[in-house]
């Protein structure tokens, strides 16, 4: 780890001020992604702005037909929140499978979504549920937010404040874990919200993406059988020592079937 300044602002405004004053400052939430990068000296921020003391980023609440989850909500809180479990059980279930106990007690939804690791869990829920990402400046639709590997619509210094999830009629998630890292090798989040079907695929490609053929098939017939015949093209998917693009393409269909099964 290189030396850096450490700040712990008490308000969103102060955090934004610190970050906008210094392009090499980095926000930190749970630190479960940033700290390993710092320890490996892959990252050399001038200062680290700890968001954990900012009340505006906390809390999980039901607001009418939406579930609003603050950026600082830890995976463990999402997994065990009665509001989440009642409104979107698939999201709570997803959170309960991220990393391990230590990671779930520190990692946050805001950190994960802002980071947009292609092998992360949450991005598929955000995209599959057509959620809205709320920042200190604006509201961003999920379709516009994720822009490929580790890239989002967030501008430098812009902070993720909360995520607003519409409440679906049905939603389900299934993933195959990478055998070594246990991140996602291929995952599918399926949801029917206000009659509209969305299928978001994570892990398999360089970023989370929607599977249009599956969405069409499920709109016609909401059942595992409907996607069983939909082949995900291997083109453009990840291939590495853990599995070829063809294997991941195959897993996309398998996970989509299982996600629908789970959604009921």
């Amino acid at each position: 780890m290189y030396d850096f300044e450490y700040h712990k602002p008490g308000s969103l405004a102060d955090a934004v001020k610190l970050l906008s004053a210094d392009p090499d400052a980095r926000p930190i939430s749970g630190g479960q992604t940033l700290l390993p990068a710092l320890k490996h000296r892959l990252n050399k921020p001038t200062s680290v702005v700890d968001l954990s003391g900012i009340a505006e980023l906390k809390g999980i609440k039901r607001e009418g037909d939406k579930l609003v989850i603050g950026a600082l909500a830890k995976h463990f809180e999402v997994a065990t929140s009665p509001e989440v479990k009642a409104a979107i059980p698939a999201l709570a279930q997803m959170a309960s499978t991220i990393g391990d106990t230590q990671v779930r007690n520190r990692g946050t939804i805001g950190g994960s979504v802002a980071n947009n690791d292609p092998a992360a869990d949450y991005p598929s829920a955000v995209l599959g549920l057509n959620a809205t990402v709320v920042t200190d400046k604006r509201r961003i639709a999920a379709d516009d937010f994720f822009q490929g590997m580790f890239t989002t619509a967030l501008e430098p210094g812009e902070l993720l404040v909360a995520i607003e999830f519409p409440i679906p009629e049905k939603a389900g998630y299934a993933k195959m874990r990478n055998p070594a890292s246990r991140y996602v090798m291929a995952g599918a989040f399926v949801a029917k919200t206000g009659g509209a079907v969305r299928v978001a695929i994570n892990g398999a490609g360089p970023g989370v993406f929607r599977q249009a053929d599956m969405e069409k098939a499920l709109t016609a017939n909401w059942s595992p059988d409907a996607v069983a015949g939909v082949k995900q093209p291997a083109d453009g998917l990840n291939g590495d020592i853990h599995g070829s693009a063809e294997y991941r393409a195959h897993l996309v269909t398998v996970m989509a079937k299982r996600a629908i099964d789970a959604a009921g």
Partner: protein, 795 residues
């Protein structure tokens, strides 16, 4: 009567004495030790697998904050190379190629991770900062990352003085007899397979602290070692040219070794030498990435084999050709692993009349490869037990029957194999029968059918194995090229009140010696376990020792203790005879009580101990006071644990994921001192074997970069990857050591991988699979399923 209650002697599953310390966080590992005035070393490592070093500029680094010194290979002209402990000879009798392994690279780097420079600084972070400021100009050379690449015509030379990258081309067995065996064959089975490279990944990374006292010129090295005396010998005599009395090596608590902490590593020499230069203690602790790219890796063989059978399925002859990867330099015992620890095991549990093996050891631009739990014997067992399954399939014989028909019978021991070893004892039918029974072999087809109904492919696999551990005797290994003796040393120090301290030259890094060895004393001398302490891991305390590896500690180290106890008892009897005014021949000793035979005259252990140290009434003319004896024990032979492992798996065809649903191990480890510890050792070994078979994939790219250099990419087995392992023992005693023990540390890792792969192949049998290379990952299995339409479906 002085009966020990509760029973704590041989055969008792007493709890481990060391666990209170470990589980309450009071272990003292090398990195827990801090010496006054300590500095920290960071090692600058090569990012290239193969490159010429054009220049190294350390000026900027030396001026960085906190930097005490910066060293490169050029600063160490007088140091020797890191030595190899075993010289192998080629088929033509010439010695193997033994290229120089400098402590810090000179001229060239030969693997990613090769040590280029060392920075000594006030803090770890300052040392790392300065290491980054060293400017090295590399001229990158083509690299050879695999055996195939290294042996290709025109391949890059890892060492300029080693033609064709071949370290040695060795053989064992009689070639003419072997060919005659093949000439008689009714059937020849040919087979090729890989034994996959593994990264050891002990939980505690390697660490070393060098300390130097300028007033006495004494050096101390604290290090994560399985054998401190061996390190003192290798580093002192060959590298730093320090005499033993000026060099103390301490290996305190060590958090797992699995072989990787046997070897003498460059960092040990760097910190010790640098401490002398900067006149302050120097500490180095590996980061996990450094562990991946500098701890000696394991296995990495490519083998072609042919098995000749007669019309009745009896094995006639086995011919094996193996390529073994040495990595970039010869690690301490690297050369012995694919020869005397592998090819000598190729008879296995079978009465094959002829075995002929040829082994070529090859340099590549990769991390050095050396012994890893099992060392050579897992490679031999995997080859044999896969080959036997393939032979069964291709001759239409039952997998169990072909084994039974070829076993060395229980009444044939001692049994001389055609590849040098003489097995002293074993009963392979018995361990097989017990395992078949325990695993419910007979009922398997019903379980397969039930799984099929659930959409799962279920398979069962068997492995019957023997291994050789407690490597010995010194005279024989010496004639085969070992540059060390393989005896062990034990001191039994009886204190005036009768409690005992044991000094052993072996080293415990997870095995539970502090308990097992104390049980030997309790059993023999009748001293309660709480009054026996075992000390190891310090050359200043222990007379001498060869350390712990190859499952030798109990068989060799325990036997040394027994010999020392014999001396203690003999002397104690003379003291007792004097006190009871009897003749020494009439004094009997049984667990703590001395008795004049046939009388009720007795003396207790404590009385004799006290008399030995307070010799008021004592035969001082004939006997020295004190009760403290040392013995050196050189074994007559290896010991030969063996047994049968049965694995049952289920495969989910949709994903290719394999789940080990049952694992049964029945092992003959000789006499069992502590059944609980044996069970733990076998379970741990089996888990490592399952890791090798299904999970652990060590991958180099063609440039020699280790792609699987972190836990993000290298899959260690975790609790939820593993079944409950059912462990049982079936004992035949070792015939040549006083305890009848054989060794249990490696059997799990040796017997299990072929059982797992045999089960996977069995599960996939409807797909016409002959073999699947380890690790049989989900992706690989799905690839097989996807590529081949089931034979059944095609019908």
């Amino acid at each position: 009567m002085n009966v020990v209650t509760p029973f704590e002697g041989i055969g008792a599953s007493v709890k481990r004495k060391e666990d209170l310390r470990f589980l309450s966080g009071r272990g003292q590992y090398t990195d827990d030790i801090n010496r006054p005035g300590q500095t920290y070393a960071a090692i600058l490592r090569s990012p290239h697998a193969h490159a010429r070093i054009a220049s190294i500029d350390t000026v900027a680094a030396a001026a960085m904050p906190g930097v005490v010194a910066v060293f490169t290979g050029a600063d160490m002209p007088d140091l020797g190379g890191i030595p190899c402990g075993w010289q192998i000879h080629n088929k033509d009798g010439s010695p193997m190629a033994e290229p120089m392994h400098p402590v810090l690279a000179v001229g060239k780097v030969r693997f990613v991770g090769d040590a280029v420079a060392a920075v000594i600084a006030e803090t770890r972070a300052q040392a790392k900062d300065a290491a980054e400021a060293i400017a090295v100009e590399y001229e990158v050379l083509p690299a050879v990352a695999t055996l195939e690449a290294a042996l290709a015509p025109g391949a890059a030379q890892v060492h300029d003085d080693v033609a064709g990258n071949v370290c040695y081309d060795w053989h064992i067995g009689d070639k003419a007899i072997n060919e005659a065996g093949f000439a008689k064959a009714a059937k020849v089975v040919e087979f090729e397979l890989v034994n996959n490279r593994l990264v050891p990944n002990a939980m505690e990374p390697r660490a070393a602290i060098g300390d130097y006292d300028p007033t006495t010129e004494d050096y101390t090295l604290y290090t994560t070692s399985q054998n401190p005396h061996v390190i003192r010998l290798l580093m002192g005599a060959f590298v730093l040219h320090l005499p033993e009395h000026k060099l103390r090596v301490v290996a305190p608590d060590v958090g797992g070794g699995f072989g990787s902490k046997i070897f003498h590593y460059a960092e040990e020499a760097i910190v010790t030498w640098a401490a002398g230069r900067v006149k302050r203690p120097v500490k180095w602790t590996a980061e996990r990435t450094e562990s991946f790219i500098t701890d000696a890796h394991g296995r990495d063989h490519v083998t072609k084999a042919r098995l000749a059978l007669d019309a009745n399925g009896k094995f006639l002859a086995l011919h094996v050709q193996t390529l073994a990867n040495m990595g970039a330099y010869l690690s301490t015992f690297a050369t012995s692993v694919p020869t005397y620890l592998y090819a000598t095991l190729l008879a296995g549990v079978y009465a094959t009349p002829s075995v002929y093996a040829e082994v070529k050891a090859v340099f590549t631009n990769t991390v050095p490869v050396d012994a890893y739990r099992g060392a050579g014997r897992p490679e031999a067992t995997f080859l044999l037990e896969r080959l036997v399954d393939v032979a069964a399939a291709e001759t239409g014989m039952d997998r169990v029957e072909i084994r039974r028909r070829n076993f060395i019978p229980a009444d044939a021991f001692p049994y001389q194999t055609p590849v040098a070893l003489q097995y002293d004892s074993g009963d392979y039918q018995a361990t097989l029968n017990q395992a078949l029974e325990a695993a419910g072999w007979a009922g398997f087809e019903a379980r397969r059918a039930e799984a099929k109904a659930r959409g799962r492919l279920r398979g069962i696999g068997i492995s019957t194995y023997v291994e050789a551990c407690g490597i010995a005797p010194s005279a024989v290994v010496g004639s085969l090229g070992a540059r060390a003796g393989l005896y062990e040393v034990g001191t039994i120090r009886v204190h005036p009140t009768g409690s005992v301290t044991v000094l052993t030259g072996t080293h415990s890094h997870g095995q539970g010696h502090e308990t097992t060895f104390a049980q030997l004393v309790t059993d023999r001398l009748g001293v309660p376990l709480a009054q026996v302490d075992v000390v190891h891991g310090d050359t200043a305390k222990i007379p001498f020792g060869m350390g712990t590896y190859g499952s030798r500690s109990l068989a060799v180290g325990g036997s040394a203790m027994v010999k020392a106890m014999d001396k203690i008892v003999a002397k104690a009897k003379r003291i007792a005879a004097h006190l009871m005014e009897a003749s020494v021949e009439d004094v009997e000793f049984d667990r703590g009580t001395f008795r004049v035979a046939g009388t009720d005259k007795t003396k207790s252990w404590a009385e004799i101990a006290l008399t030995a140290y307070v010799p008021h009434n004592y035969p001082i003319e004939e006997l020295e006071p004190g009760l403290d004896e040392t013995a050196f024990y050189d074994p007559k032979n290896f010991t030969y644990p063996g047994g049968c492992h049965i694995c049952e798996v289920e495969i989910e065809p949709e994903t290719g994921i394999t789940t080990v649903v049952n694992f049964t191990a029945v092992d003959d480890v000789g006499r069992v001192i502590n059944p609980m510890i044996v069970e733990g050792q076998v379970q741990g070994g089996v888990c490592q074997g399952i890791g090798q078979a299904l999970l652990e994939s060590c991958v180099y790219d063609s440039e020699g970069q280790l792609v699987s250099a972190s836990f993000m990419d290298y899959q260690m087995p975790r609790a939820n990857d593993l079944p409950m392992v059912s462990v049982a023992t079936h004992t035949t005693l070792c015939t040549h050591n006083p305890l009848g023990v054989k060794g249990c540390g490696e059997v799990g890792a040796i017997g299990s991988p072929p059982a797992v792969i045999n089960a996977v192949v069995d599960a996939l049998k409807e797909y016409g699979v002959r073999h699947i290379e380890m690790p049989a990952t989900a992706a690989k299995i799905w690839g097989i399923i996807n590529a081949s339409r089931p034979a059944m479906a095609a019908e």
